[in-house]
Subunit: 364 residues, 2 copies
Amino acid sequence: MDPRVREHARIIVEHSVDVQPGDEVLIRGGRHTEDLLIALHELIGEKGAFPIMFDQPARANRAFMRAMDPDDYDEIPDTLEAMIDNVDVSIGIRASENTHETSDIDPEKNTAFAQLMEPIQSKMMEKRWVGTQFPAPGNAQDAEMSTEAYEEFVWGAINKDWDEQREFQANLVDVLDDGSEVHLVSGDTTDVTMSVEGMVAENDYAEKNLPGGEVYIAPVPDSVEGEVLFDMPLMTQGREVQDVYLRFEEGEVVEHSAEKNEDVLSAVLSTDEGAKRLGELGIGMNRDIDRFTYNMLFDEKMGDTVHMALGRAYEWTVPDDMERNQSAIHMDMIVDMSEDSFIEVDGEVVQRDGTFRFEDGFDG
Amino acid sequence: MDPRVREHARIIVEHSVDVQPGDEVLIRGGRHTEDLLIALHELIGEKGAFPIMFDQPARANRAFMRAMDPDDYDEIPDTLEAMIDNVDVSIGIRASENTHETSDIDPEKNTAFAQLMEPIQSKMMEKRWVGTQFPAPGNAQDAEMSTEAYEEFVWGAINKDWDEQREFQANLVDVLDDGSEVHLVSGDTTDVTMSVEGMVAENDYAEKNLPGGEVYIAPVPDSVEGEVLFDMPLMTQGREVQDVYLRFEEGEVVEHSAEKNEDVLSAVLSTDEGAKRLGELGIGMNRDIDRFTYNMLFDEKMGDTVHMALGRAYEWTVPDDMERNQSAIHMDMIVDMSEDSFIEVDGEVVQRDGTFRFEDGFDG
């Protein structure tokens, strides 16, 4: 077995979800992930915990989704509810043979079924959980890489010293926790300000996401002002949206456009009131992610980028006494900050052209 | 997709477990079974039922079993217990890449863990369930067949008119239900008698086993007298036992031998008191199974054979007022009845050289 697989398994079990004796560990991972499943089962056995495999092949899911009528289903199956109530840990491993396997499922049907199953997702997020990636051929294809080069990329981003990464990111957490107004500028297309006063900056060092590698915070919903061109493409509802442009006034999107699939963007914005406001500002800090691969788990942690999400703000980022933006959606979009760009907090430059002021080479 | 796969799925869903709207259907099947999983998901969706996949790859299971210490586990995980309590239907699909994947797990460890998990197995047998086979390369290898020829064999035995098969087998059920003493003779090596007075003959027409194709009954435990040479090999605990010879007195094995792995046979016989007595007499009647393939799901239904099982008699074959043989084991063994053989019930020949008296070509 590739030693990088064993290291990946070790980080999952010991760092991300910290498996303990007696834990009942739900694992989802398909046929491409077999080596990682083997390594995980070995470590979980050594810990005296219980592995429980639960995975539906993408093609089987697509067959079910096309054949079923959502009107026939009015509640979550008791089996899944009982299962999720009892597990202690959940490990989800993404690996696609074909990332477009769901592209011929009726989107309305998909949405209706996803809404029905949403409580399972919510309950799962109350457990110790991690979502990670296995370097499968379909994901390599999206990244326009050979499978072998993609393996190097994926394990390069995952198998690292997360304590060191946490310490590196803590520098930015301190700045944001102490700060009030954030100002982002990139070229002449992005110039936006927002308040983060009173919000909690999160240090993502690969607990829930593996790879981790970002610091994120919820903006005060009404405070966002200015315009942003998200110059990295994004995938949503199985379609690629390019060059999303948004203009904000008093926190709300008042103008929008996109070069490709603008109708998808418009549909997302009209989902609900919260869909027109930002729920997250994230700053990518994983420098081993050095290219865009059409995979948000990686893209949003890329060095030299920031991302903003329309829609839902995560509960743990908003103190009880602050307003939390609520929405059925959470759509991340990325801005390249590597050139002609800066981030200021309360008038002081924190990052210029991708380099932080607590890094070598910073040119304030 | 091979149309034989769709037919296989249809028989499972409509004949074997009769999936109904709202059913929560547990499916276990590995990566080799993907086409059958797709076909099942489609049919289950059409029925308005819920597919729930649950499968542990054989290599992952082996890794867990080798790494774990059975002393660390003292109860069934709540997650599995909750799951099995809630499912309505269970579909188990066998398919091996390597049928010896468990061969380097310590047998004592295997037994200890199997005993812990036994209640899950028992609860599952109270549901609508079926065990079936997908023609995977490892199983074809055991059968000494190409994968394509093995596909022909497997689907030939499975995709058939089970109503017709049920009617054919009903002829023998009537004989056994009305009968008292069964006498089996094959060559000069097998000559055994047993009482089935008051026992219930079961017609296996592919409900719990797919393929089905046998009629079976529990002998009165103390009634078995004589000797049997099981001239077909059997696999138990990952090892092949050949030419098992047993001599019975008052239902109990008083002499035993085997040409290969006799120690395994001795160990099985000494498991408990019930392991020395027969729990089942079965007569194979699926004429599409025309060869031995080292797979008991098929072998025991082969035409021109009978099998007897040491150990546990199934509850549904023994009326409440009769003694049921109890044991932790149930080991099937097969006798070739194609030549120089006969089965008599109450002195009347029911089968000679493999042909039943209700078939053409019977030479009473």
